[in-house]
Symmetry: C2
Subunit: 189 residues, 2 copies
DNA sequence: CCTACCGATCGGTAGG
DNA sequence: CCTACCGATCGGTAGG
């Protein structure tokens, strides 16, 4: 899946052939069919890995009681997760039109649930008075955009995911980070 | 170009065939070759339209003297531009791997210049004390992410680009918008 | 996990 | 701007 993600990131889903994926794994194309039924299933496996990883780590964070701390954790979560797995999320975010129709409903459902966690955190922070804004959905999408976008520009030679995450938290919540919590290494790239 | 952008947005560049583009224009595929030399050239035309439109409107905004006002204008510019032309910018942002190698250097040059205008505006606002942050590049990319991301989720039936733009400005600069400036209608979708 | 191969799609051209 | 057509690529299968 990680190899497929890298191939699809570099060439796009259609142009990235199963011959390319197999070559990167030092095998022949037909051998891949021992593991997957079709190229479409392989793409779905990549999508599923992305959304499942994201949701699993989110679940524990969503239980934090202090609204501002919870939102800060969600912001760091998305920035660090995407920054650490650029090829996985490049495919997830940019190859949506190639995903087979039979998977899209499930994917959209999980994504809506994901966005909802951010909307809820934003609402809680707004009612606590830490943040002023009219539309929590706009704020949540702005946050998801500023953090997710990192896969488009991050250069691992110079940019530290944790430092970028801290910048995002500061921009939204206006507080300087003192003791950023440790994130577990969770990279597929 | 607008039709091609819509086809490539819906199906992706490779899966969106010239037969599809031609059908949407009520012609035959071969007729397209009167206007473009190749499918790759058509894609480049879409890319060029996106970056050129973005840069042209940016040029006038970049001359504003007040740093905070200038940054606010840049934020609104990107949010409204992308929100109004989702198919154009979906192709521009997500079909990069399909762009022919001979165009990528030019595109990256223009993009760097574009990002630089945001970095500069952020630096000026920071030295003015309106915003506190260590790395202007992180802040600029965060701003470009929160605004550009709008093409992924905007629903024109319920979401107003200008209102979202105002939310972004408020999140970054913390001031409530009173009299948002009118933007010219500039939509290709 | 391999070699050999088939069939559909699709970018592109000929010629009008 | 059209009809007719070619050739390459590539997902997928047969059979081992």
């Amino acid at each position: 899946m990680a190899t497929a993600a890298r191939v699809f990131q570099a060439r796009g889903y259609d142009a990235g052939s199963l011959d390319d994926v197999a070559a990167a794994l030092d095998m022949r194309k037909s051998s891949l069919y021992y593991y997957v039924r079709s190229k479409g299933e392989l793409l779905h496996l990549v999508f599923d890995r992305a959304i499942t990883t994201a949701i699993e780590e989110l679940r524990t964070l969503a239980t934090m009681s202090d609204p501002a701390e919870r939102l800060a954790a969600l912001i760091r979560h998305q920035a660090v997760l995407v920054a650490r797995n650029p090829s996985l999320f490049t495919v997830f975010f940019d190859q949506r039109p190639s995903l087979d129709d039979r998977y899209v409903d499930d994917m959209r459902r999980k994504e809506r649930q994901y966005v909802h966690a951010y909307v809820e955190a934003v609402e809680d922070v707004i009612s606590g008075g830490v943040l002023a804004a009219d539309d929590p959905r706009f704020v949540a999408q702005a946050i998801l955009g500023m953090t997710s976008w990192v896969y488009k520009w991050i250069d691992h030679a110079r940019d530290d995911p944790e430092r970028f995450a801290a910048t995002c938290v500061q921009l939204i919540l206006g507080t300087v980070e003192r003791d950023p919590p440790k994130h577990q290494a969770n990279s597929f790239d």
